[in-house]
Amino acid sequence: MASSNVSTVYISVIDDVISKVREDFITYGVGDAVLNELQALWEMKMLHCGAISGNIDRTKAVGASTGGTAGATPPVHDLNVPYEATSEEYATPTADMLFPPTPLQTPIQTPLPGTDAGMYNIPTGPSDYAPSPISDVRNGMVINGADPKTGRPSPYMPPPSPWMNQRPLGVDVNVAYVEGREDPDRGVQPQPLTQDFLMMSSGKRKRDEYPGQLPSGSFVPQQDGSADQIVEFAVSKENAHQLWSSIMNKQETSTKSVTPVIPQRDGIQDDYNDQFFFPGVPTEDYNTPGESAEYRAPTPAVATPKPRNDEGDDDDEPPLNEDDDDDDELDDLEQGEDEPNTQHLVLAQFDKVTRTKNRWKCTLKDGIMHLNGRDVLFNKATGEFDF
């Protein structure tokens, strides 16, 4: 009963998310197929870990469609560019590539200098490279001018706005700045040719993106237009990669990262150790071997604590502090969390936490609990713990 309830909530969350990001997907020029794939994958994973039950009608329907999308979509994606695989309408992308159907949709195109116009005669710019039009344009002039067939995105970049020509100084500054960031991006996408094709084929998509891009001012190179308007926080292409990987890292190390935040570097051992340098003292329990050495080494140090501590700082303190933070028991507890499904976890919001002596009381709300392999949701919870 309870679990089917959870399942219902989860499914409604999935539906809610999918329906609400649909607009974003459209704005980004990503087809519904990708969204469906996302939903299918997500629900499949949920089914696998038992978070939702498979016997809900809607889920079944989705499951069926999962097979469909899984069969059709993924292979296409792998071969093609990021978002493009979804657009069925590009059955013959080559035609699109060679003769962009809507060249007029990039009004900026016109300002191009006549000499360079040849390079830009395919103006379809995908959002991917929009972030750094300037550097690409510049590359186009320098690099692609020499070797136009390298397949670099520059030829297809949205043409530079007129101000570029008017203010070469600004260009230079930006280029130097942008290019450094652009490089890793290139490294990441080793098949520029394929990418370019896809981008070129995206004449349609461009239409969607441009309204956002033009008004936002092509001045700032990192703005890729598509993100600027829709996203609450501006995420540029490069940033998004970093942000995304940081999110992924955070998921993995979220608990551990908390510990180092509390610095124990208050020089505990300064006075303390001098007074209690006898090795048999309980403090040994959480000492590192390094500190034991400190104990052993200098008996005279007691008399002159300062110099010894200075030396000790170099050799012994860092490991000592790290270990202090990791308190053995806690470490064990958190290690356990790395094992999926074995760790019991409650994620919630607290309204109030109070303590009287060793008695803790807390009221929580809106929680997700993962206990004994099952998910349980609650609206309110009260906790009474003794410490």
Binding site: V13, D16, D128, H344, L347, Q349, C362, L371
Partner: protein
């Protein structure tokens, strides 16, 4: 609207994150969009918990560790008992992570 990223660590959130990560790695999805989806998930999950879930739970246990950092309470309980209307779960060790609910209303 403010949201917590807290729920991303739940089963449903992890499933979503994995899915997005796979799609980003395969190039199907751009990272920007993936982040958008996660942000939307934060909202939707918070919303669903607030409006669709009615159950109450009682928690008892021995508090092994407590920590309050950056407005987040973390409790590690041992021998904890979770009671709701129709069920009682007993676990040897559980971690509770709770964000300040007041932050959401701001």
């Amino acid at each position: 609207m403010a949201t917590f990223e807290l729920y991303r660590r739940s089963t449903i959130g992890m499933c979503l994150t994995e899915t997005l990560d796979e799609m980003v790695s395969s190039g199907t999805l751009s990272p920007e969009l993936a982040i958008q989806v996660l942000v939307q998930f934060d909202k939707s999950m918070t919303d669903a918990l607030e409006n669709q879930v009615k159950s109450k739970v009682n928690i008892k246990g021995h508090l092994h560790t407590y920590r309050f950092c950056d407005n987040v309470w973390t409790f590690i309980l041992t021998d904890a008992q979770f009671k709701n209307d129709d069920n009682t779960e007993q676990v040897g060790k559980v971690k509770i992570v709770a964000c300040d609910s007041k932050l959401l209303s701001q």
